[in-house]
Amino acid sequence: MTVSSPHAPTEQLPLAELLPDGAVASFDRSKDGHTVVIVDRSHLLEVLRRFKDDPRLGCDLLADLCAVDYPDRESRFEVVYHLASLENGHRFRIRVPVEESDPVVPSAYGVWKAADWFEREAYDLMGIKFDGHPNLKRILTHEAFQGHPLRKDYDPGQRWLLTEAETMVPAWATETGKLDDHLESQVLNIGPSHPATHGTLRTVARLDGELIVKAECEIGYLHRCFEKMSETHGWNEVISYTDRLNYCSSHINGAGFALAVEKMLGIEAPPRAQAVHVILSELSRVMDHAVCLGAMLVDVGALTNFWYFFQPREEIYGLLESCAGGRLTVSYARIGGLAHDVPADFVERVRFLLGYIPKFIDDVEALITSNKIFRDRTEGVGMISAEEAVGWGWTGPCLRASGVAYDVRKEFPYHGYDQYDFDVPVATGGDTYARYLVRIEEMRQSLRIVRQALDNLPDGPVITDNHYVALPPKDKVFTEMESMIWHFKLIYDGIKVPPGDAYSAVEGGNGELGYYLVSDGGGKPYRVKVRPPCFAIYQAFPHMLEGHLVSDAIAIQSSLNIIAGELDR
């Protein structure tokens, strides 16, 4: 599969001709430059199929699917599909109005498997039913939960308690499965509290001996209501919540959210802020991959590497602490730039890291890459083909390990990534070993980007001078009347984002981290939907397990780098 670069505009496409007659209610262009197609639900499946199958559209990736609640509209809900064509570089958004009295839309699972969990999520949180979905039940909230929390009339603090008797057991797990005359299959529960499930993931598997015959995953053990919380906070305050999505690389989340809001506001962060975003994001990516690989190697029995990888992480933490005050959850990004400038010794410290980190990567490579035990456990284990991976909605290092060179930094450059010279590492195996190789090489490429960004680090302000968005400098607030008024206005009213919606993505540690934002013009977001990369990746996991050994399941899971904060939000 080839990936086009750079992003191709969609204005020239004769969409009215390409799509079925009479199916499209209207076209629109949103602020982010995506073509928006508004479709009646009776034609939805037909339109989705056309988007996927027509070679001129070729949308092979269902990037995201979500629902938005507009209680004041005639049709209360809207289901939004974000489509991407990796080959043509197109981006489309499809919106389908849905009535409150009959909240049903046909399931897109038959077109893209990626719709599986995204539809369950929309059902769970918004109460939209997807006709034809194979397993439509709650996914993030628990079994005793009542109502649909992302609806605007749901009180954010309304809890429902769960007792142990009510916890999920799949229907098939309680049936006794006879394999043959004298053998019975066994059901094994792994997690959520288990060292190899990293705390919050749960898999129920039916075994034939040591072989997994069927598996199902239960997630939501860390569902902390990010999207509902975002709706109750100001735009800048959301950044402290985004940091706790993928907490292994928190700066990328905050920078991505700020970028999405900047798109809606039509502003840009100053060049210095963008370069610092790049440096910190790439170092965060190194940390993210270091945790992923370190934990993965522990799970397959190579503990030493975990300690090796934690040493450079501590040094990067030190740098982040000197910039932002926090080690792990930094909250350093702001809409329009950064909270404040980097410390005086920033360049020196980053230079030290550039010399310090590669040694640890080399050490791990020397121990692991051609290690027979490791290769025996990972080569050919958890293989997934490029087509399947894209169909499930995979992005990031896991997709690149299957041979698809899709990287948001190259396809839809942001923060000036197009100025940097770097490669997108791709492996062809699609197995656990390939995912290891890609991550190792990505750490090196990240350091290469950091080096370039550091060499060309511009001087100047780190936050926009647009005072509708950013506070004026403190010394001016105390000495100038106008600045004081700006300060007062912004503190009092918050940032006012013009009404509309936008989707913006950055390359997170696990892949395309997208934010779909809706604003009603107020000081708080109307709707924030995150496209969590590992949510799409993890939904393929139970299907990948079939035919594997239990010990392989552990190796596969840790190679996917599932971060619960991002998965469950």
Binding site: P192, S193, T200, R224, C225, M229, F310, Y317, A564
Partner: protein, 171 residues
């Protein structure tokens, strides 16, 4: 106790004090790590901060083998029955450290799916604030717990003395 000159002397102490001293220096933590705090917990046990300096580095994921549960991360209503079950499976004496704002109070997740403090259903000995707490803060919490164990001030000790009192009054 044998002295350097070869003579023997006696050291008198109370059994409780002796047990407390032994227990506090051989804590086996069970990290109930769910979120960001779990990553900081990893830092604490890693080489840089090195929790083994306080005799508490033998991390066990089986509740049967551990006596200190460190709840590191947000606990949701979906997870609550699991935490409770794990706590009940631990053998006494057992202690609980609640690490981070979420485990202490729900943190800034005042929300429909988040437990507003793990002490809703398990007794907590030490609360460590922070989002996430720095490794130093967690180590401070562990040292604090060690003092409490030595002085017999943990929840477990209170429970034990309540039981003894009850037995004394009823008998």
């Amino acid at each position: 106790m044998r002295q350097p000159d070869g003579t023997s002397t006696l050291l008198t102490t109370r059994v409780d004090a002796m047990l407390g001293w032994v227990r506090k220096n051989s804590l086996w933590p069970l990290p109930f790590g769910t979120a960001c705090c779990a990553i900081e917990f990893m830092s604490v046990v890693s080489s840089h901060y090195d929790l083994s300096r306080f005799g508490a580095e033998v991390v066990r994921f089986s509740p049967r083998q551990s006596d200190l549960m460190i709840v590191a991360g947000t606990i949701t209503d979906k997870m609550a029955p699991v935490v409770k079950r794990i706590y009940e499976q631990m053998a006494e004496p057992k202690y609980v450290i609640s690490m981070g704002a979420c485990a202490c109070t729900g943190g800034f997740y005042r929300a429909y799916h988040v437990v507003q403090g793990v002490d809703e259903f398990v007794p907590v000995d030490v609360y460590v604030p922070g989002c996430p707490p720095t490794p130093e803060a967690l180590m401070h919490g562990i040292i604090k717990l060690q003092e409490m164990i030595q002085n017999g001030e943990t929840h477990n000790d209170r429970l034990k003395s309540a039981r003894t009192d009850r037995a004394a009054t009823s008998g």
